[in-house]
């Protein structure tokens, strides 16, 4: 029988580089570099002081190494901590004045920024390396009091809000990468939804790494005031390169009484080539605080990219009756590695959490679900439900489930279910006999497997995510 040539190379269509003149901070991590960043962003003194405090603390911290995916030692003096297109150093007044190369880049990524081409009903903050280059629909959102801008702009224009909440969910000293981020963070988004307002559009940030040898240190802060609602989505891509690049983000969410934040991620950083060369190290700290009673935070993530994904979007359920949710699809192919999951910390009474995790591993990849459910003695009548499913393709990949459970409250209840399954040759043959090619067959089976999570995504993105799931597994059969 004739075997068809199946292209083992993944079709990473975002792998291009934008040739643009940059302004960079001197290489390496130092007091001077932090001053450079703070100055470039025209920050007030309190912000620089805060960064310096983090930098001092960093000296006493060590990189964690309990994670499953190991990586070669990162030389922190060999990274550029700030790189921004030269044309953005005097911030253009409106989007039409933006460097055409930047506009072209976002258009190519499917995120047109100019007024007449914008995506309907979705406001976008576009972050390119270390700066936010544009934010769309700002004025329209302003009409209802919603603040959506880059964190750099928020530090200048809304210092009282930033001061109050930054570091309130992820303390300055939390752990090595979070502290590193606090010292050198560059850009990211800021969202404030005033009391009683239901944000009229989807908010989203698109992160693009472009410059080589550069780390990206995103900082995002979202505050939903009493009785408000917001749905936010982030997307990420990077060029194909032989080197590993670091993306170390801190994302903090705060939900006050009766407020709800829905945070979705479609992560498609460059995963490295089919031999495991290159790709992004995605080491991210994401944490939401359900500060008020009846508040709710829901994380949905579709993690298909990166050489190594290492993140646990978490919820601290402080307010009584608050709800935390985590829906995750993580896919690893070739030599990709992921160690991801969540932490649900129940502090308030009647708090509820739900974890639905779907891990798919193919090729020589390795996937770990790691999750903590911690119910404190005061969290009376609280509940958690966890479901962790793994799907293996082939027999050279790995899947591991590491649940940590701490229940200090006898009136509370934790339920955990886990399954592991495999796509069999017979199932593929059956689908092929019905006219599907192997890739379509895998796509169908995998989408069926992830359906519960895909359904959580905002409609506009669910279709894209579904396609991405198929593409990420390309070359893993045949």
């Amino acid at each position: 029988m004739r075997e068809k040539q199946i292209d083992k190379l993944k079709d990473y269509k975002y792998g291009f580089t934008t040739d643009i003149e940059n302004i960079r901070a001197p290489k390496g991590l130092s007091k001077e570099v932090i001053e450079f960043i703070s100055k470039a962003k025209k920050e007030p003194k309190w912000m620089l002081d805060w960064r310096m405090k983090a930098f001092e603390r960093l000296k006493n911290l060590k990189e964690p190494n309990w994670q499953k995916p190991k990586y070669p030692k990162i030389d922190y003096q060999d990274i550029y901590y700030y790189s921004a297109p030269k044309s953005t150093s005097t911030k253009p007044k409106n989007i039409d004045e933006l460097d055409p190369k930047l506009l072209e880049t976002y258009k190519k990524l499917g995120i047109p920024l100019q007024e007449q081409q914008r995506l309907n009903g979705i406001a976008v903050d576009a972050v390119f390396d270390s700066v936010s280059v544009a934010t769309t629909f700002k004025d329209k959102l302003n009409e209802v009091g919603v603040i959506f801008c880059s964190i750099s702009e928020a530090i200048q224009k809304h210092p009282e809000l930033v001061k109050k909440y930054i570091g309130s969910v992820i303390p300055l000293t939390d752990h090595y990468f979070a502290t590193l981020n606090s010292a050198v963070f560059t850009d990211g988004s800021f969202v404030y939804i005033p009391p009683g307002v239901r944000c009229p559009m989807e908010l989203s940030t698109y992160f693009r790494i472009n410059a080589s040898q550069t780390g990206q240190f995103e900082r995002t802060l979202i505050i939903a005031d009493k009785g408000s609602y917001v749905s936010y989505l982030e997307g990420c891509t990077a060029p194909m390169r032989d080197e590993n690049q670091l993306h170390a983000a801190n994302v903090e969410l705060v939900a006050l009484d009766d407020a709800e934040i829905k945070y979705s991620t479609v992560q498609n950083w460059y995963p490295g080539d089919e031999n495991g060369k290159g790709g992004i190290y995605n080491f991210v700290t994401k944490r939401g605080l359900c500060k008020g009673t009846n508040s709710k935070i829901s994380w949905t993530q579709v993690e298909t990219g990166s050489a190594i994904t290492w993140k646990y979007p978490s919820c601290v359920l402080q307010g009584d009756n608050s709800i935390g949710e985590f829906y995750s699809i993580a896919i690893t192919n070739n030599y990709q590695k992921a160690d991801t999951g969540t932490k649900m910390i129940h502090l308030g009474k009647n708090t509820k959490s739900k974890i639905i995790s779907k891990g798919i591993s193919a090729g020589f990849s390795d996937m770990t679900y790691r999750g903590l459910v911690d119910i404190s003695s005061k969290a009376k009548n609280s509940r958690n439900y966890t479901q962790c499913d793994s799907l293996l393709m082939g027999n050279k990949c790995g899947a591991h489930t590491v649940p940590y459970i701490k229940n200090k409250n006898p009136e509370s209840n934790i339920a955990h279910e886990a399954t592991t399954s495999k796509i069999s040759e017979e199932q593929l043959y059956y689908c092929q006999q019905r006219g599907l090619n192997p890739e379509e067959a895998v796509g169908l089976i995998v989408n069926g497997f992830c359906k519960e999570v895909l359904q959580q995504l905002p409609m506009e993105f669910a279709v894209e995510a579904q396609k991405l799931v198929g593409i990420s597994l390309e070359g893993s059969v045949g």
Partner: protein, 244 residues
């Protein structure tokens, strides 16, 4: 339509089929009967393109060398296999599976794909004809289906895909008499001047409802005798033991 010449098939250096010859013309119904382990499923799998067999000889389907076509390409050309043991695919909705399959075939043929509404109309009609519980179509493919329901689901798929050559691998095994009649009705309603069938069975029972044009007895890796429907009765009376 189908010409098999001097087919030889080995699995793990064990010979299963040898000197196997068969020709099926458009519109004909052929039945193959043979004892357990005689290679009936092997033949079905080789025709539909399952990998893992060492094969030689020639198989032409509409004058095209089948060995040059991938499994799905054979399906696009109109070959359908009703599996002896239909597979379960957890997470995949039966309706979605059926629609994806139908549209993949239509697309490959350059025909217009069906939208959700057109598809649902078609599937409702066919399900009703086959007395297939519609509610089951919203369940995961074959998960929790009884043996009979799985077999009926194969016939439902067959009648939706309307193949040129349908191979039924022991579809009748494990069916009660009512289900057997329904399956036979499904086949008979597809019987047209260009649609052919290869029906693999142990028992002549099914052939009471689907009148074959030819009956073949498969033993020792090839067809040892061919004849009309009366051959099935003879076989039933004598048994395979004494037939040789």
């Amino acid at each position: 339509m189908l010409k098999i010449k001097n087919l030889k098939a080995d699995v793990e250096s064990k010979s299963i089929l040898n000197n196997f010859n068969l020709e099926i013309k458009p519109g004909e119904v052929h039945a193959i009967m043979g004892p357990n382990g005689s290679g009936k499923s092997t033949l079905s799998n080789i025709l539909s393109g399952k990998k893992g067999y060492d094969v030689s000889g020639e198989i032409l389907f509409e004058n095209k060398n089948l060995f040059e076509l991938e499994t799905e390409e054979r399906a696009h050309k109109g070959i359908f296999l009703a599996f002896q043991y239909p597979l379960e695919i957890p997470g995949v909705n039966t309706n979605i599976f059926l629609k994806t399959s139908l549209n993949a075939i239509k697309k490959a043929r350059g025909e217009k794909e069906l939208d959700a509404i057109e598809f649902l109309k078609l599937v409702k009609l066919k399900a009703k004809e086959l007395k297939f519980d519609e509610e089951k179509l919203n369940r995961q493919l074959n998960v929790g289906f009884s043996g009979g329901e799985k077999k009926k689901n194969e016939i439902l798929q067959m009648s939706i895909l309307n193949p040129k050559l349908s191979i039924l691998d022991e579809t009748d095994s494990g069916l009660d008499i009512d289900a057997l009649k329904i399956v036979a009705d499904g086949v008979n309603s597809l019987r047209k001047k260009d649609n052919s069938f290869l029906i693999i069975t142990h028992y002549q029972r099914l052939l009471d409802y689907i009148k074959p044009d030819y009956v073949h007895v498969l033993m020792n890796g090839h067809i040892i005798k061919s004849g009309g429907p009366e051959l099935a009765l003879e076989l039933e009376n004598k048994g395979y033991e004494n037939f040789n």
